[in-house]
């Protein structure tokens, strides 16, 4: 397959010791986590927990020290993330900042933006959300309508974002908005820019949206003549699409695209009546972990493995969704112990999102098909 290789990576040196440290930390903090907390994992938001993670130096691990980072390798960070996910830790309050907002600022932000925000993210204090989707712009993101106009001293923002995870609980949003109409004959994604939006500014209304689970995990955010300061622009005016696309490669490539339903799998091991479906799932999992680590290694080398990331997310999401379904071959869920039943109920309900958020299954497969030269 031209250009599509997943070279095996070795786990970073010292990872066994690092895993032990994280496990001890999680054992202590995870005592009270209900099946619903563990089942939601990175879809759970717990500021106190995120501050504790930050205090251990496990947020912004790869960033330079002067921004509060730990100057560790991307593979060491991968190890920590895996441990958090395997335990079903509620990492949502720092996940976005660590995964994409921080790296975006590191790459495109001004020195002042970095100094102001990165240390706070690394301490687990500044929570970020992703302002991409809009009511009429889902998969077809370039059709977004939120606009930012230049005004004296800054920008005026108008429009609406939707499905924004934890917007009602976060401090900052990085929003993609139109700053110029795409010119005649230009692609639609010209004229977009990224902005750092302080969610306390006046003119912003945030309405939490209730999920089918009953939780309020995402929100609708309306901008009504919001005045953003001059330095709210991230990177270059008009370069928003390229910047957001690079961000998406980070959003798609992590171990949370493989391990979201791991706690459920682990909980079913002992009670499984049939080892065969269990063995199949474990074989997939072991392979997907290696693929995910391989993508982390490519990112560490400074490559942008967009197709590889899409492929691992597609396969990983299918695996994550197979866990609650296959489990029903493993044992009679209706008769399972209560903890397991609740975990199964929780993962069953959130499982549809595994092939939606971060790019739907169909969009990912379109990216893979382009990688194969079919489009």
């Amino acid at each position: 397959m031209p250009g599509l290789r997943f070279d095996l990576r070795d786990a970073p040196p010292g990872s066994a010791a690092l895993r032990r440290e994280v496990r001890a930390f999680l054992a202590e903090h995870g005592r009270g986590w209900t099946p619903e907390v563990r089942g939601r994992s990175w879809m759970g938001f717990d500021r106190a927990f995120s501050r504790a993670v930050g205090a251990r130096g496990w947020i912004g691990m790869t960033w330079p020290r002067r921004y509060g980072g730990g100057e560790r390798s991307a593979l060491e960070r991968h190890v920590v993330l895996e441990e958090m996910l395997a335990a079903g830790a509620p990492v949502g309050a720092h996940w976005i900042g660590d995964r994409q907002s921080g790296p975006l600022l590191l790459r495109y932000g001004t020195e002042a933006q970095r100094m102001r925000l990165l240390p706070a993210i690394a301490r687990g204090e500044a929570a970020f959300c992703i302002g991409l989707s809009e009511p009429d712009a889902g998969s077809d993101l370039a059709g977004l309508r939120t606009r930012a106009e230049r005004v004296p001293g800054g920008w005026r923002l108008n429009g609406r974002k939707v499905w924004t995870s934890f917007a009602h609980l976060c401090d900052w949003m990085i929003a993609l908005a139109r700053t110029a109409p795409a010119g005649e004959g230009e692609p639609r994604h010209a004229g977009l820019s990224q902005f750092l939006v302080d969610l306390r500014l006046s003119g912003i209304a945030i309405r939490p949206i209730r999920e089918l689970t009953g939780e309020e995990g995402f929100a609708e955010v309306t901008f009504d003549n919001v005045l953003l300061p001059e330095d709210a622009l991230i990177g270059r005016e008009g370069a928003g699409w390229a910047q957001a696309t690079a961000e998406l490669a980070l959003e798609r490539s992590g171990p949370e695209r493989v391990l979201s339903s791991y706690p459920l799998l682990a909980a079913a091991v002992e009670v499984a009546a049939d080892p065969v479906p269990l063995g199949r799932l474990v074989a997939r999992l072991a392979t997907l972990r290696a693929m995910s680590l391989s993508v982390a290694g490519m990112l560490e080398e400074g490559r942008t493995p967009a197709v590889e990331a899409a492929l691992v997310k597609d396969l990983g999401g299918a695996f994550e969704q197979a866990v609650p379904e296959r489990l029903r071959d493993l044992l009679d869920v209706a008769d399972a112990p209560e903890e397991l039943r609740r975990l199964h109920a929780c993962v069953t309900q959130v499982a549809p999102t595994f092939s939606l958020r971060g790019g739907t299954r169909e969009i990912l497969r379109g990216i893979i098909a382009r990688g194969l030269g079919l489009r």
Partner: protein
């Protein structure tokens, strides 16, 4: 790792094997084996590359390559459906050498207990027979073979009892009592990864050229999405196979049974999915004897049945995991990979 990829002796050798097979292993050669003809010239050409002794230590006159290097060769053999027992020969030679028996020249095969059908039995000179405790070098010429075949037409022959045993030696612990079975499972997993890559290439190519409704069928989203699924499965099979080879290099055949099982399961699942998609993309032409696709897909269907089906390995893995318990599954999985890199 990509940085060292070019210098990797396995990659170099696999490249040579690939080029040779691309030139020499055509549809006529593949059809001939199904009529029982032995492709002597092809065997000789592959033998000249030094493949039979690739896994044999240098001290015993071999190339001393590791399993990751050998794995690349197995993948190349699978990619072309090479109709010779070269993978079997490499495995048998490795097992014999590991117990101190100098591997004899010529094609070899191996068997776990003699009861099952021996790959290429009637065409080989010697068979390495592993009964769980010993490796025996058996003379294949003195045996009466009852010819059989898998559904791809590859020879799978039964031996009459009472063959001549030339030498016997005890199996060392690092190989384990299941050395032949594990080695064959690894070989088949690698071959499937190769055949999947080849079938994917064929299907993508065809989707770009076959036109219906005024455009290449590859422009239809339904076809694109199917091929994307195929690409995912093929990539997973490849990674699983490489991971298993790495585990054998690190821990020996016996202790790598977990990764070998994973590879056989993942490749076997990918074989089913990938073959089905390939045939869907090719339409009727792919169902003909004349079209080369079936040389790959029938091998995929055969190899997933051999050396332990997905079900066999999944039951084993599942029981192993159950014996560990749910709380220990994660520490187990991570410990399998958290090795300090081999220098």
């Amino acid at each position: 790792m990509s940085a060292t990829h070019d210098a990797d002796p396995g990659a170099l050798l696999a490249g040579q094997v690939g080029r040779l097979l691309a030139a020499r292993c055509d549809a006529a050669t593949l059809a001939a084996i199904e009529r029982g003809e032995w492709p002597g010239p092809l065997w000789d050409a592959l033998e000249e590359l030094g493949l039979p002794l690739a896994l044999v230590p240098e001290a015993m006159g071999g190339a001393g390559l590791g399993w990751q290097a050998a794995g690349r060769v197995f993948v190349a053999l699978g990619r072309h459906g090479a109709p010779v027992p070269m993978g079997e020969t490499m495995l048998a030679a490795a097992l014999l050498a590991a117990v101190g028996i100098a591997p004899p020249a010529g094609p070899l095969s191996l068997t776990a207990n003699g009861g099952e059908r021996v790959p290429w039995g009637r065409h080989v000179r010697h068979v390495a027979c592993c009964d769980g405790e010993t490796v025996a070098l058996c003379d294949a010429a003195g045996v009466t073979w009852t010819p059989g075949a898998n559904l791809a037409g590859e020879p799978r022959d039964s031996a009459s009892p009472g063959g001549v045993v030339l030498r016997v030696a005890p199996l060392p612990e690092r190989l384990g009592g299941e050395a032949a079975a594990s080695g064959l499972a690894l070989l088949r997993a690698c071959q499937m990864a190769g055949a999947l890559a080849a079938a994917l290439d064929l299907a993508v190519d065809y989707a770009g050229t076959r036109r219906q409704f005024g455009r290449p069928i590859g422009r239809f989203q339904a076809i694109q999405q199917q091929l994307a699924v195929f690409a995912g499965e093929a990539a997973a099979a490849q990674v699983a196979a490489e991971r298993a080879c790495r585990a054998v290099d690190r821990h020996g055949l016996a202790a790598a049974a977990f990764e070998i099982g994973c590879a056989k399961i993942v490749a076997g699942e990918a074989a089913g999915t990938g073959a089905a998609i390939a045939h869907q993309v090719f339409g009727a032409i792919g169902f003909t004897a004349e079209h080369p696709l079936h040389h790959l897909t029938r091998r995929l269907w055969s190899w997933r049945e051999e050396a332990g089906t997905e079900r066999y390995w999944a039951a084993r893995l599942g029981r192993e995991v159950q014996a560990l318990g749910g709380a220990m599954l994660w520490p187990f999985l991570t410990a399998r990979d958290d090795q300090d890199p081999i220098p």
